[in-house]
Assembly symmetry: C2
Homo-oligomer: 336 residues x 2
DNA sequence: TATTTTCATGAAAGCGATTTCAAATGCTTT
DNA sequence: AAAGCATTTGAAATCGCTTTCATGAAAATA
C-alpha cells in the first residue's frame, strides 16, 4: 500500500510544460510568464504535489538543514539556546537536526560526522569543552560551524557568548564590596574551559583588584546537580566562607536548601549568587541572586551568523559577546 | 574554495571495481569477496570517503531521519521525552529533525508537511491537543506517526502514555482518604484533552467513588506557569479547598510559595500533589508530592514503536500505557 | 521593416548513491 | 574434462529535482 507520490514530472506532464518550468514556479523564479505560473500552480494544487526535499538537496547541493549538537536537551540552559536557534532557523526556512552529545568528545566527533554525511549546510555546536580533535573536525568540515554559549579560548571558530569572566568578576566584586573576604567558588569540572579559563579568571581578577588573597581551597569542583549542591554545602560551611558564587542553578538550589536546613542563614551567614537565572532561582526560598544571560538570543544570534556563513557572506565580527546582567534576589544582602 | 568532495565513483575508480561493489562494502552486503572488501576499504580510508546521505536517501527512498514535533524544547517535560527519543533513534542509526510547534495547530500542520517534504521515514508527535485537521494530516502522511506523551481519545494513531486518569484518580483518592472533602483541581486549558478528558475524568471518578459531590467551582483553568500558580493560590485559599491536585510542577511551586508566604501552611492547611516530578518538586519547601512518570521511557518506547512501523512490522499493541507512580514528599501529610 | 534585446521555455546533463539483472568467475561433482 | 551451481562482479537504469545552455517568441530599437 505504498502511497503514490507525485513528482515534478507528473506536474510537468499535466500542465503541458517542462520540468524546468515547474521547478521555476516552485522556487519562485521570476522568469515565468504569469499565465504559465498560474496554470502550473493549478496543477500543483490539483495533484497535491509536494517537492521532494531530498532530491532537491541532491541536485542543488543544499539541504536547507542545519545540524545542532547539544550536550543534553533536558538541560534547560542549552534547551533555551536551542529554542532560539530553531526559531531563527525556521524563519530562514532551515530545519534542525538535533543530536545529544553528552559532552563526550568521541560522541561529539561522531555526531559531527553523521551530520556532515547528511549534508547539513551548517552546524551549531554547544558544549562545555573544545579540544584539538574537535577543532580539527570543525576545520575539516565542509560546512560552517558556529559555537553557541560555548567558548573556545583558542577560537577561530565563530561564536556567541556573554563575557563570563566579566560577569563573575562583577558578581564577586559585589560580594567583596559587601565586606566578604572569604568567598567560595563552586563550579563543575575545571577541565571545562568555561570554568577554568573564564569563571575562575573572573573570580581571581575580582580578588586581585581588591587585594584579597586567592585561596585554592575555596574553589570547589563538584558536579552540576542539586545533589552535588547539598553535598557541597557542609564543606563550604566548614571552610568559613561567607559567600559563594555558583556555576549552576540546580547546584545553587542544593546549597541553599542544605544551608537553610542545617541552620546556616542565607543571606546572613552565606550569600549565594548563581549563574543561569533559570526558573529555579525564583522557586527556592530565599530566591537566588543570579547572573542573567540572554539565552534565547545567544542561540538566535548564532543561527543568524550561521545563515550568513552559509550564504558566503562576511561576518561583521567573528566573536559576538552579548550583554549579561545581574538580578538581585534574596540570597544576597541589599547593596549599601 | 569549495572543498573537494569524494564520491563513490572516485572510490570505485581508485579501487578498480564498480560503484556497485563499493556500495556493497559500504552497506555491509555480504556478497563481496573478502579480498575485494579489504581493497575497497583501504581506498575508502585513503580518500577519506564519506557516503552522501542525501544521495543515498534519494536512491533508496529512506532518509534514516525521523521528524520530532515538540511544543517547546524548553519545556522539561517534553524535553525529557525528546531525550528518550533521540537516544533510541541514535541506537537505530536514525537522526532527528526537531521542530517546535508551540502547540499551535496551524504550525503543527506546517511543520508536519515540511517534515514529509524532507522525506522523514517517520514522525513522533508530542502535543497537548489533537484535532481533526491534524488527524487528517497524519492519515495523509506517507510515513508512520507515533504519539509520545500525547493522548488522542479518538486515537487510531499509535501512542505511548501513562494512564493519566488513573493517576489523578489515585492521587485524589489519597487525598480523600485523608479526610479532605473540598479538593481543588488546578489545570491548564480544558481545551486540551489530557485535561478535559483524562485528568478531569480521574478527578471525578475519585469523587464519585467516595460519593463526594463534584463542584465545578473547584476546577481551575489557569496557565501552566509559576506565576499562574502564585496568582491562583489566593483563589484556591478563598474557595475553602484543603487540598489541590495540580497539573504542572511550576504551577504547583507557585501555589506552594504563595501559600507559605501568605501564611497558609502546606500541608497542614493545604495539601498539594503535582503531576510531573521534575527537579522543581525537590527544590520547593516543602518539597512536592508528585505523580511520577517514566518520561524518558515514554519517548524511548515511542521511538521503538516507530522503528517497527518504519520497517513494516506489526505493533504488538497500538496504545502502550506505561506505569506511573506517586512519590510522597512534604506537601502532603503522612498516610495513616 | 529590419535588427537587437529581452523574456520565456524546454532539452538534457548532472547530483551521488542504490539496485536489478546478467555476465563472469570459481568450485564441486561427475 | 565437462557440466552445474554458487559466488562475485559490473553495467546501466533510476531516484526527483536543479541548472545550464540553446532556442524561439516577443518587445524594443533603429
Amino acid at each position: 500500500m505504498e502511497k503514490q507520490t507525485v513528482t515534478i514530472y507528473d506536474v510537468a506532464r499535466e500542465a503541458a510544460v517542462s520540468m524546468a518550468t515547474v521547478s521555476r514556479v516552485v522556487n519562485g523564479n521570476p522568469n515565468v510568464k504569469p499565465a504559465t505560473r498560474k496554470k502550473v500552480l493549478a496543477v500543483i494544487e490539483r495533484l497535491d504535489y509536494r517537492p521532494n526535499a531530498v532530491a532537491r538537496g541532491l541536485a542543488s547541493k543544499r539541504s536547507t538543514t542545519v545540524g545542532v549538537i547539544i550536550p543534553d536537551v533536558t538541560n534547560i540552559y542549552f534547551a533555551s539556546l536551542a529554542r532560539g536557534i530553531d526559531d531563527i532557523a525556521m524563519m530562514y526556512k532551515y530545519n534542525i537536526i538535533l543530536t545529544n552529545s553528552d559532552d563526550a568528545g568521541e560522541q561529539e566527533v561522531n555526531v559531527l560526522n553523521t551530520l556532515m554525511a547528511k549534508q547539513v549546510d551548517g552546524v551549531i555546536f554547544m558544549g562545555n569543552h573544545i579540544d584539538d580533535k574537535l577543532r580539527a573536525e570543525f576545520k575539516r568540515a565542509k560546512a560552517p560551524v558556529v559555537l553557541a554559549g560555548t567558548v573556545d579560548p583558542q577560537g577561530d571558530t565563530p561564536s556567541v557568548n556573554i563575557d563570563y569572566a566579566a560577569a563573575v568578576e562583577e558578581a564577586v566584586t559585589n560580594l567583596i564590596n559587601r565586606g566578604h573576604t572569604k568567598i567560595a567558588l563552586a563550579l563543575g569540572s575545571l577541565s571545562q574551559s568555561i570554568n577554568a579559563e573564564y569563571r575562575l579568571t573572573g573570580y581571581k581578577r575580582a580578588l586581585n583588584k581588591a587585594k584579597l588573597p586567592y585561596d585554592d581551597s575555596l574553589v570547589y569542583e563538584a558536579g552540576y546537580s542539586y545533589d552535588a549542591g547539598t553535598k557541597l554545602q557542609p564543606v563550604i560551611a566548614d571552610s568559613g566562607a561567607t559567600a559563594v558564587f555558583v556555576g549552576d542553578d540546580e547546584m545553587a538550589a542544593g546549597i541553599i536548601n542544605a544551608s537553610v536546613e542545617s541552620g546556616v542563614k542565607v543571606p546572613d551567614d552565606l550569600e549565594v549568587i548563581t549563574s543561569n537565572n533559570t526558573i529555579i532561582t525564583q522557586i527556592t526560598r530565599p530566591a537566588i541572586t543570579s547572573i542573567t544571560q540572554p539565552l534565547y538570543d545567544i542561540g538566535a544570534v548564532a543561527m543568524r551568523m550561521l545563515t550568513k556563513l552559509m550564504n558566503d557572506k562576511e561576518l561583521d565580527e567573528k566573536t559576538v559577546t552579548l550583554p549579561y546582567g545581574i538580578v538581585r534576589r534574596d540570597s544576597t544582602k541589599v547593596e549599601d
